[in-house]
């Protein structure tokens, strides 16, 4: 049953690849804007690399969250899914995992390329990719709460970003400081421990929070 749900999301994605490609394209362009807009001095680029890549990943995740519930809400599938005899939290967990595989994993796979663009060393790229690997699922899990509260709103615009910002900032700081610490030769265990903790906590609690938010949204 869960596998069917998972493969449903994957199939939908295959039918509408351009949604995901748009998000990836946004990520690439956003990352490229930083050196273009600030300065292409290699030393400076190395300093801003973790922040730039993480921020771009953050915005791309928020952009992709838009599509998480909106289509299912539009054609009524969302309400039907809420009525299924499956625990809603479990259903949502599968949805969110699928969503991350589709939108978050490509970001993680592209990260080494971005790191090279900024002139990072090999071990720094590894740390960067690992931090995104742990961080992007948390972004998706937390972001789903914001997406669930604002789904279907016409005038939401940047509201989701505003709502999610206080939740995202600690994670952003952890992720970027992990890479910066790697650059300075400082031990990164603490950063990854905290990020891992955030991942585990959000894996367990976020589906319930999203379920509550969806119940509020759908009455």
């Amino acid at each position: 049953m869960l596998w069917k749900l998972f493969s449903r999301d994957m199939t939908l994605f295959m039918h509408r690849k351009q949604d995901v490609v748009t998000v990836l394209g946004f990520f690439l362009i956003a990352v490229a804007l930083f050196p273009l807009g600030i300065s292409s001095d290699p030393e400076l680029l190395k300093t801003i690399a973790p922040g730039a890549i993480w921020i771009a990943a953050l915005f791309s995740t928020v952009l992709a969250l838009d599509r998480l519930f909106s289509e299912d809400l539009d054609d009524g599938t969302l309400e039907q899914q809420m009525l299924m005899p499956v625990p809603i939290a479990l259903l949502l967990l599968v949805r969110l995992v699928a969503h991350w595989v589709i939108t978050g994993l490509p970001l993680v796979l592209l990260a080494p390329l971005m790191g090279l663009q900024f002139g990072l060393a090999f071990n720094e790229i590894v740390i960067l990719t690992l931090s995104l690997l742990i961080g992007t699922p948390v972004l998706v899990l937390l972001g789903a709460i914001g997406a669930a509260l604002t789904v279907g709103l016409k005038s939401s615009g940047g509201l989701v970003t505003l709502l999610l910002l206080p939740l995202y900032v600690p994670l952003l700081i952890l992720g970027t400081s992990a890479v910066t610490s790697a650059m300075n030769g400082v031990d990164v265990t603490a950063h990854f421990s905290l990020m891992g903790a955030a991942l585990l906590v959000s894996l367990v609690l976020s589906p319930f929070a999203v379920a509550t938010a969806l119940k509020i949204t759908l009455d």
Binding site: L165, P166, I173
Partner: protein, 251 residues
Amino acid sequence: MSATRRIHWMKYASASNFYPLANRLAPIFMGLAVVLAVIGLYIGFFVAPVDYQQGNSYRIMFLHVPAAWMSMFIYLLLAMYAIISLVWRVKMADIMAYSLAPTGAMFTFIALLTGALWGRPTWGTYWIWDARLTSELLLLFLYLGYMGLYSAIPDRQRASRAASFLAIVGIVNVPIIYFSVIWWNTLHQGSSFSVSEGASMTSDMLSALLLMTFACWAYTIAIVLRRAQAVILERKKVALWASQISKNKET
């Protein structure tokens, strides 16, 4: 015959009972706020001595510190009302939360603004991204997010429930923000300026600070009660008692 009178614990959870009470209390608290503020500011600006480290520029502390305290406490109050509103479906609690938000946001903004003005002469910069300032900024975003979500959803009941849920999720965030003050110092070995308001505060400074704090509290109570009154009149338009009051106000 039973001579016992039942205590109506939930009497003021009804808007029609709350409104006259608020009407009576608001002017009292506003008057109290003005009196306390005048005395507090007088002591703070004219009586308290010049600080040996910061000269006269420290005096903005008498507005900055109470504002910062209020910003945090009002958020906790807001979240408490949000829980009551969401769990027990008490509409008056939602009205209180909705009325608290703008005042909380205002105090957060004042804290940030006065902090910047204080930072310029003492630190040499208007802003610095240390944990305390950043967490205050995030608190402002929490308030703005609550108000923004509330106004973005057209259906009032769904809006109140969604915004209450958001406020509650925001509480989970507050300890994270405040623990980050500790984490950040261990992860980034960089300097974090902590302004010493001094264990050594003269009694004049302390009394001015306390007076200003009470003044801010009284102001908050007065203004939130007034705002709640306005919200009640707007939402209970159809009720007879409310429309009577609105008509009287118009004439």
